[in-house]
């Protein structure tokens, strides 16, 4: 086991922040968020799960895809510049898995999303293992663990005065190549795990399509997009062209994309006014079946990382595990 002292870690992080953008859990008045930090001192070490996942640094809430400048007969198109290097430190295993899941849709499956791919190429994922699972965490139910290093470039595990370090990719090895690591005997103590039941099998999810319970859950759903926006894997977006203030004689526009969610009522509205998912129950069903049936079918992995954010944040306590547990019982 290779370890690094806390002082050296802080020095290293200060150095990283000076070179690249360093993103880490940071405490703000209402909670902990992944934020760009300038120094290791600004990192919230003893904090709970960040309110939002880290997806916003690869798939920002809104971004310009294109700028159009029209001057008389001349039209100039300007693509957005490619991304700058960034390191996400203190990433939780569930959030790292979220990024891997996004990769499968945005990068691994054509057509490649160039904006996402540009950010992804320039991003290193440096994890910090959770010691235990929070009250609403269920990463073990989706095949992860609180200290799962698989989706990271580098993984740190806290051991008090020192941290165990493990590089998992060539890029990760390059990142820690110059660190004054110390070889120590022994193994990293595994995090305490809690087995969480309730998630149905893919088959049970599939068979739940005409289950009457969806309508019942839908009655309670407020159709906000909270669950989708706090989710590490929800990736729907909307694209629109908007006018920009322009100098006299010119007309400037930008093509924007911004987060969107299948939970909102108008998401599936078609020309002519028909809405195949007008009922909130059918929208709720779509979101969950997307996670466990449609996404794995199309891209491979299930689109749920067990972070538990939707369980905590839902204003009316719609609970994925409760909904799933009832469906699984019905299937048996």
């Amino acid at each position: 086991m290779k370890t690094l002292s806390r002082e050296n870690l802080n020095l290293w992080l200060d150095g990283l922040a000076a070179q690249h953008a360093l993103i880490a859990p940071h405490l703000e008045a209402p909670g902990v968020f992944y934020r760009p930090v300038q120094r290791a001192q600004e990192i919230a070490w003893e904090a709970g799960r960040p309110v939002l996942s880290a997806k916003e640094f690869l798939f920002p809430p809104s971004e310009r895809l294109l700028k159009v400048e029209k001057r008389g007969p001349d039209v100039r198109l300007e693509a957005s510049p490619s991304a700058a290097p960034q390191v996400i430190f203190g990433l939780r295993p569930c959030d790292a898995r979220g990024i891997r899941v996004l990769d499968t849709a945005f990068v691994d499956t054509p057509p490649i999303d160039s904006r996402y791919a540009s950010r992804r190429e320039n991003t290193l994922l440096v994890g910090l293992a959770c010691r235990s699972m929070g009250a609403s965490c269920f990463c073990t139910a989706v095949g992860l663990a609180p200290d799962d290093p698989r989706d990271m470039d580098v993984m740190f595990s806290d051991r008090g005065a020192t941290l165990a370090v493990q590089a998992l990719t060539p890029r990760g090895e390059a990142l820690i190549a110059n660190l004054p690591l110390v070889e120590e005997l022994g193994e990293v103590e595994p995090a305490s795990r809690r087995e969480v039941g309730g998630l149905p099998t893919a088959e049970a999810w599939k068979e739940s399509y005409s289950d009457a319970r969806w309508a019942k859950h839908g009655e309670r759903c407020l159709s906000c997009r909270l669950c989708a926006y706090v989710c590490p894997t929800c990736r729907c977006y909307d694209v629109r062209d908007e006018a920009l203030p322009s100098p006299p004689g010119e007309a400037h526009f930008e093509r924007l994309r911004a987060w969107d969610s299948c939970m909102r009522e108008g998401y599936r509205l078609t020309a002519g006014g028909h809405n195949p998912r007008a009922a909130s129950g059918s929208r709720l069903r779509n979101r969950l079946l997307c996670k466990f049936v449609y996404y794995p079918h199309q891209y491979g992995p299930a689109a749920c990382t067990g972070c538990g954010r939707c369980l905590d944040a839902c204003p009316v306590n719609l609970d994925l595990l409760e909904i799933g547990g009832a469906l699984q019982e019905a299937a048996q």
Partner: protein
């Protein structure tokens, strides 16, 4: 001296004609005001004014018929109730209250029109450019003002990081 950009929403029945009347009487009015002709001051939804400020207006002037003279009976009554509330929330959000004004100008009051516009622009000049319009990101730093804020609802779960 800074020359402010002012958007004026002028009701077509009274104030717009009042502006014409100021022109035909050769009264001097500041050039800072860009007039938008609207059917009634009641048509000036607060969102229009918010949009004007978002797009970089230094000030917004809404002019309608005098109370009791509205072409549509009650349009200016509505403006008279909505715009003070908009002013109140804008001020609460940190904008200088001098930047928004509602007043009444009838079709024959060219002199009153010229006086109100001059007063409004004169009050704006010392304020300088409006900082309301944001280009790019806002400052991330939490403005710590020593008051309890609601906790983010997603905060309750998750084990502490080691």
């Amino acid at each position: 001296m800074y020359e402010p950009k002012v958007i004026g929403f002028l009701c077509t029945w009274c104030s717009y004609t009042g502006a014409d009347s100021a022109g035909t009487s050769r009264l001097k009015t500041p050039w800072n005001l860009r007039a938008v002709r609207v059917p009634c001051s009641g048509r000036v939804a607060p969102e229009l004014i918010l949009r004007a400020f978002d797009q970089g207006a230094d000030g917004v002037l809404v002019l309608g018929c005098h109370i009791g003279e509205c072409h549509y009976d009650s349009g200016n009554h509505r403006a008279a109730k909505r715009i003070p509330l908009l002013l109140s929330i804008l001020e609460f959000a940190g904008m200088q209250p001098e930047r928004l004004r509602l007043d009444w100008v009838s079709a024959s009051e060219g002199d009153r029109y010229a006086r109100i516009v001059s007063e409004f622009v004169d009050a704006l000049r010392p304020l300088g450019p409006n900082t309301w319009r944001i280009n790019g990101a806002a400052p991330r730093a939490d403005a710590a003002i020593g008051m309890p804020l609601p906790a983010a609802s997603g905060l309750s779960g998750g084990a502490p990081c080691p």
